[in-house]
């Protein structure tokens, strides 16, 4: 009965995963959950066996260690002899007496993790699709490293990470404001810094240790049109150049460093309302950078992981609650704030009068 239930869950997850690829609208997404709603009982694996294997394996490893280290010598000699008689064949094994218990633990843990991952992976994929639909975004396929190189040719912002650079996720969106509308690309830029440190111990032996630090920057790229060669940096400089410029606001000076192609470019761009808008956005987002390149394109990047994604608060255990959650509109609030500010920057710089 238990095995059968786990198999049914496996089948259900496989079926939903296959159907998810064909979902293109909210109705399709809600229909995807129908088999989960019809499922008898909670969508939860029965993990009694994997848990037993893991814990049993760990207990036996502990017992073997206690016996080996003589910690159980206080036991009655008859019992101790019986235990030794029982475990003696294990010492004939080619990989040592621990190997079967380690294997048992590893298999149990692998089963637990793979089931957890299967369920969570599907929930995350459905939630991701829901976010795309709720925010009118369309996922674009790209070669992560190639795309990062392409972006790097256009913006200094992507000149980060000495080991690896990739665009892990890319999608297309459209913003419709009161006075301007624009298309934008939303991305997750992943870069890795590699550090190698060599230390020498007291005996003169040197040790080399390599560490990899992973970073993510999220942002949007769009065609701005009204200004070029201007960098507004709330985070570290990654090769942006220009004349240092400071607007009158002391708060703005604390938040951002401005590098402009010319003082005229900066003076024209930084109207008081623009300064205020950027200050407010800088308070909402972490490590905000804006780079206007020589083609008048804008690249806005931040460090907030919820800029392009919001973690799913529920799982598939309660399919009805999960469906209700999907039916609500989940906006990417920080993305909306950034797009609104970009729109205001367009309004204050359009000079269409």
């Amino acid at each position: 009965m238990t095995t059968s239930n786990n198999q049914k869950i496996d089948q259900l997850l496989r079926h939903m995963k296959q159907s998810l690829a064909g979902v293109h609208d909210e109705t399709g997404l809600y229909a995807l959950l129908q088999p989960a709603l019809n499922f008898h009982g909670p969508i939860r694996y029965n993990n009694r066996w994997p848990w037993s294997m893991t814990l049993g394996g760990l207990l036996l490893i502990l017992l073997l260690w206690l016996l080996d280290s003589g910690q159980l010598n206080a036991l009655p000699p008859e019992m101790l002899n019986s235990l030794w008689w029982l475990i003696r064949p294990l010492y004939q094994l080619p990989f040592g007496p621990w190997s079967p218990f380690v294997l048992l633990t590893v298999i149990g843990t692998w089963l637990l993790l793979s089931r957890y991952q299967r369920l969570k992976g599907l929930v995350d994929a459905i939630w991701h699709k829901n976010l795309l639909l709720d925010n009118q975004l369309q996922e674009l396929s790209c070669q992560p490293e190639t795309k990062a190189r392409e972006f790097e040719r256009r913006f200094c912002e992507f000149n980060r990470g000495n080991h690896k650079r990739s665009i892990d996720w890319l999608c297309q969106g459209h913003y419709q404001g009161e006075q301007h509308q624009f298309d934008y690309q939303l991305f997750d830029f992943h870069y890795v810094d590699k550090h190698t440190t060599t230390t020498t111990d007291s005996k003169g032996r040197s040790h080399t240790r390599t560490t990899y630090t992973h970073y993510h920057r999220y942002g949007v790229i769009m065609s701005f049109g009204f200004t070029r060669d201007l960098n507004i940096l709330g985070y570290s400089n990654s090769g942006q150049r220009g004349i240092k410029w400071e607007p009158a606001s002391l708060d703005f000076r604390k938040q951002f460093k401005v590098l402009a192609g010319s003082e005229m470019t900066a003076a024209k761009f930084f109207k008081p309302a623009v300064v205020e808008q950027l200050q407010q956005l800088g308070q909402k987002l972490r490590k905000l950078n804006l780079e206007f390149n020589s083609q008048a394109e804008l690249c806005l990047t931040v460090a907030d992981s919820d800029f392009a994604n919001v973690p799913c608060p529920l799982g598939l255990e309660d399919a009805q609650a999960f469906l209700s959650l999907l039916q609500q509109q989940t906006r990417l609030v920080k993305l909306d704030a950034a797009l609104h500010t970009i729109h205001q920057l367009l309004v204050y710089n359009d000079n269409n009068f």
């Binding site: 009158a248 606001s249 002391l250 708060d251 703005f252 000076r253 109207k271 008081p272 309302a273 300064v275 205020e276 309004v347 204050y348 269409n352 009068f353």
Partner: protein, 189 residues
Amino acid sequence: MSSLLVLVILLAAAVLAVIVIHNSIIGRYNATQRAWSDVIAQERQKNKILPSLEQVAAQYSEYEKGLLEKVTALRSALAALSSDTIDTKSLAKAEGHMSEVVKGLNIAVEAYPELKANELFSKLMHEITEQQENIGAAVRIFNRNVELFNTGIEVFPNSMINNMFTHKHRLDTFDDSEASAGFEYKPNF
């Protein structure tokens, strides 16, 4: 010898601290003055809309004869503004004329609803809104700079250094009630 060295280091640190604090007060003062200049610069941006205002006024002068005179008065008031000297009376005068012009435009719209559909008029109103937003933002930035400057001269040990070397006095912010009264504010730089 070592105590003398410590004394010299302490003295050097004290002198350095005085220089840093003095410079920071001057920096904030200059930033506040610049913020005020931005308010004036935004005010003078109104010159951009004058030709369009005159065009609209001329179109409807048959009915709104006063509007053209108001635009002319605004032009003269803006010409009297100087970015070198802080003359809030002239600024208040310009703002007064501006509100008269806006009132005149509103009256014209009420009398002639087709004016709303006029592209030039719509652009004009949009520009006026944008200019007022920029003036509002410039005033808020100025006020915040004044606040930071005042804090910078009043906290210890800055107050001591200001009394001894920098000699700057507290500035007044431009509050909303004064703004609604039409730029009666006089910055005491």
